[in-house]
Symmetry: D2
Subunit: 357 residues, 4 copies
């Protein structure tokens, strides 16, 4: 258990490097008799796939997922589900230059220091390639959650440019290459990122994930709070440097009466008059939409030469070449959605275990 | 495992309610032959203890910790360490009013919905009282980390008022009731919080924790990254709504060349020219100081009456009375330090297991 | 997590040494709203308590359990249940002689070797005293299982003397000091053990535990089979050297047609015509009674002097004095029952999580 | 985590059904820089492979293992190791007859009851086919343990026929198709099993595993004792009904002085004059050889027609046809070795984590 598994009851264990023969995972704990086919997973993988616009890497990964076990005649059996994606576009030759030189912002130095060895080809295990398996496992988690829960992500900031919250339109998210809920912002980002690319630079961004239809009562005090598990899930995505729930960091500047979400009965049901909590109180869902945001740092690989050192202990300069996303926050959107789905599926089963029904 | 345990190898499992007979925890996995006495734990508990200034609750909790096991003749034995604190100042009568009325911002509604029952006295299990055991366990974690690692927290924002980074002085942290590293900010906060208290309101804040002397190589890809485990640890503290590492949310607006920490050889050692990463790359420590910040929401209990509902489904108003912290972020400082210590101790043992020495 | 916790969802974490101030445990994951009082636990502890006949140690342990948390107004709340038993009859002076000499058959040498330190008073953490917390936690597990499941243990062999299976009478178990289901065997054992005691020797035994009313479907392939988890649970009891399920070791000499339990419909339900499986097929319960047996070695502490070595590396002789059970298998009966209850409660919750209702 | 993972730090998670496209596993937690190639794993798989004599099933499974990740330039990298074996000889047509009829002694009824669905082809997930991944993971565990530890298994009983302990010769184990350490017993078993096959029947057996070179100090009180983890590991192997350590069930009939292993200094080292403990005291290794035995029930699939029921609730008869092992205990030998290796590797890392070096 050196960290490649996630979840207590609904648990995914992944493996694979950027330029090895394949990546894959095992999803253990899936309830039986859920309809599941490769197409149900592929549809989500296709959203994450690179090369769909000029704003993501041009690496070609068809990312064709195979279900190797745990599904029989179109239904999950309760046995572990093995998933595999063969690596097809692995150009090892691109990476020989970085064999002995640590790329700033990457995990080259830390992997080498920790393990005394590293698969340097395309970042090896530290490559964001592993996130494909998060998305695949997340697709199964969505099946567990059922139609009633909807998990949607959007990009709300690219570089210093934020969306206008008043312009939020979920339908717009599917219409631009940024998952932007604000059509105007998408246009501004396109322009901004074209400049970024021309400069051989890169940009960061902020992703927001909203889960609707989450029942009240999911989560578990005191360490495995739903928001704590979300924080871990989202911070574990490559390049993420911050996570907030509901009002998040802005809550620090608010007063209690301003921040507290008042309760009122409406149509015989408990409702909240605001959602600064982001759908969680005391680590347990309130029944309101779950709202999480994550900050993604700018892509570490840039064309600009940067000071670094070699494995042999000499100063050096490095300018990473090749196919890279100018803003990895874009492709982080489907990954973040998947991680939220994994957390919710796990806590749904955990709740059912302890509290029934 | 319904969420009251934390850590993989160095693991704390806690129990206890605000107004029950006692709170306690078991620390399992502690290495043997470490010097350990009750006083080594008490010193940290005393920092968290309320009633030390007019800016924290006046509840009197001597919080006298007892070591029940795992220590023999002043040394840890490798057996689990049982810790106990008897609850002494539990005025149950204060809380009968909230038996059937959900306090906004608290976990009353979510506990009741999840479990169909709740110990309403002082918040029961959801009370921040449980954080005393985090601090106690954190004191043992510090022993595991040894003298070479130093974990210090500071309050860097109260309400909308931030410290001046240029005025940062670690020595100042011990000299004011806010753990402020900026003497001027402490004065401004005192004035601000006096007003907040007079208004029957409350304020939030931001805590920063810095760990020095952390060796490179701690952490584990891909889900149990050190920063992911930190995010969970810190988000699990009551009232925390956001966590960030290094540059954090600000990273979203930076360019790659600006954000990447350049490397250079200095005196035969690899060093970084900046620390936007906050001491972690690819989920593994770089050897630089580990830097985390957490946003704490304003205290939910306020004197101002607020709209809410009763367990019986009627609209109501509630104004929580009694002894409360105007700004819980102050007392979150030693708790946040403790959680960072727990994460580091766990990963130190995990690293030793997989990679040796 | 150095081994002092048991269970995945219904999890007990214990602490405490034979001669420390107290022993205790935390039971996490208990479903809410179960009726629970100290008396419900005490009744099972009283069965394990020593000093009830001349065949168990005369050490006086009132073993009065306190519930410190997780129960409110007579019902479990879903929060962790803290249990504590204060050690009252801890005569430390009895044990100074064994400080530097390893008792054969005990864990003195292995603890010293592993940890480089040990609490030698009464065996410290390796004392069977810790089994009191297994019994206490098992009492809560029985509440989770409900009235429909009944877990009963019996002693079926003492030294070389077995019961007559034809004489099995569950009512008899409560009428003799051995938990023997065969009155005749109880008489023979009394005589045999009187001789054993006079000789300053000790005897082993075999315990059988039967769980009735266990529904079909509990358990989980392939590693966490119900019988695998039972094997671990029972082998973890001090002095146990073997575990078998159903026909057990005798199955090795049987033929397939002889061993296989045939199925038949009876009154519209699937039934089995025999139970060589002991209630488990493929790691999952069949709905038949669950049957497990465990072999308990003879008490290691004997009056006869035995060759050993000292911590300083010198040959020595040791004859352990003081109050000891001539046959620890007797007191292993309630402990074995408790461990079966813990395994079943955990798997009941696990089944509910994955498969519902 | 529905049971398809094993181990705390050195952890294997497996997937795959008898007649699905492939079986596989992920080994997480492997130390870095260990030499590892497919051939190192294949050599152990070849020992388990069926069809090597007339005493094992004639199903042809080349069982060619592929390493998909975690190894770079011949060395482990510390990243998870993905292993895959493509199923080549999956004759689905053989199994349509058992689609709706439960085979006695098999897991057909319990899987159907638990999950409401089952992959009936060749037993699906409950097939012993999954044990190939145990052997593969065990091969990696051996690398972790190093040359100094040697884990060897032998068959010591087939049906009612035991070996002569005086004739034990480890070299003989490699010379007969039964892994028998006694050449005479191997001849008797050949004759016996020929009769069993002619009768369309099957036989059980007992396997013994011995681990030499295990250092003192591995294991962890009180629940995760080394012997408890071994018991779980071995009982989780399909068809195993009993596990014993050292003197095992025979210990029940021994006296304390007879069973206790006396200690003596020899050449400046602590030694034991006997090994009734089987190498474990108090759940921690003594430094003596680790000795475990497991009872394997007779193969459930027999040609003799047996009474059973259908999924539709009608009485029926079934005689399983096709290729089956007359005595599955034979092929359990390499599987049992692998499980012992997995337990030892896990506890080696756990010990290093808590106690260092």
């Amino acid at each position: 258990m050196s960290g490649n598994g996630f979840g207590t009851l609904f648990r995914v264990t992944s493996f694979g490097e950027s330029h090895g023969p394949a990546i894959g995972c095992v999803v253990d704990g899936c309830p039986p008799r859920l309809p599941l086919a490769e197409a149900d997973i592929q549809v989500w993988l296709d959203r994450r796939r690179p090369g769909q616009s000029r704003f993501t890497t041009q690496r070609r990964e068809p990312d064709r997922v195979q279900i190797l076990s745990g599904v029989f005649e179109g239904l999950s059996t309760g046995a572990p589900i093995g998933l595999l994606i063969v690596n097809e576009d692995a150009r090892s030759k691109d990476y020989s230059a970085i064999k002995d030189t640590f790329r700033p912002g990457h995990a080259d130095f830390t992997y080498q220091t920790k393990y005394g060895i590293r698969d340097y080809r395309g970042g090896g295990r530290s490559s964001a390639r592993e996130t494909a398996m998060r998305v695949a496992a997340g697709a199964i988690a969505r099946r567990v959650l059922g139609e009633g829960m909807r998990i949607r992500g959007a990009l709300v900031q690219v570089g210093p440019h934020r969306i206008e919250r008043a312009c939020w339109d979920w339908a717009e998210v599917e219409r631009n290459p940024f998952w932007s809920p604000d059509a105007g912002a998408a246009e501004r980002w396109a322009e901004f990122l074209d400049d970024v690319r021309k400069d051989g630079s890169s940009a960061g961004g902020i992703v927001e994930v909203v889960a609707d239809g989450v029942p009240a009562g999911l989560g578990a005090p005191v360490f495995d709070r739903l928001d704590a598990d979300l924080a871990k899930a989202l911070m574990s995505i490559p390049a993420v440097k911050g996570v907030e729930i509901g009002a998040g960091f802005a809550a620090a500047a608010m007063s209690g009466p301003e921040h507290n979400d008042a309760l009122r009965m409406q149509d015989g049901r408990v409702t909240f008059l605001s959602n600064n909590a982001g759908g969680v109180l005391g680590g347990i869902t309130t029944g309101q939409p779950l709202i999480a945001r994550l900050a993604v740092k700018p892509t570490s690989s840039v064309l600009t030469p940067q000071p670094t050192v070699t494995a042999q202990g000499a100063d050096a300069e490095i300018a990473t070449k090749g196919r890279h996303d100018p803003c990895v926050a874009i492709r982080a959107v489907p990954v973040a959605e998947a991680m939220v789905a994994l957390v919710l599926a796990d806590h749904l089963l955990r709740h059912r275990a302890q509290c029934g029904g």
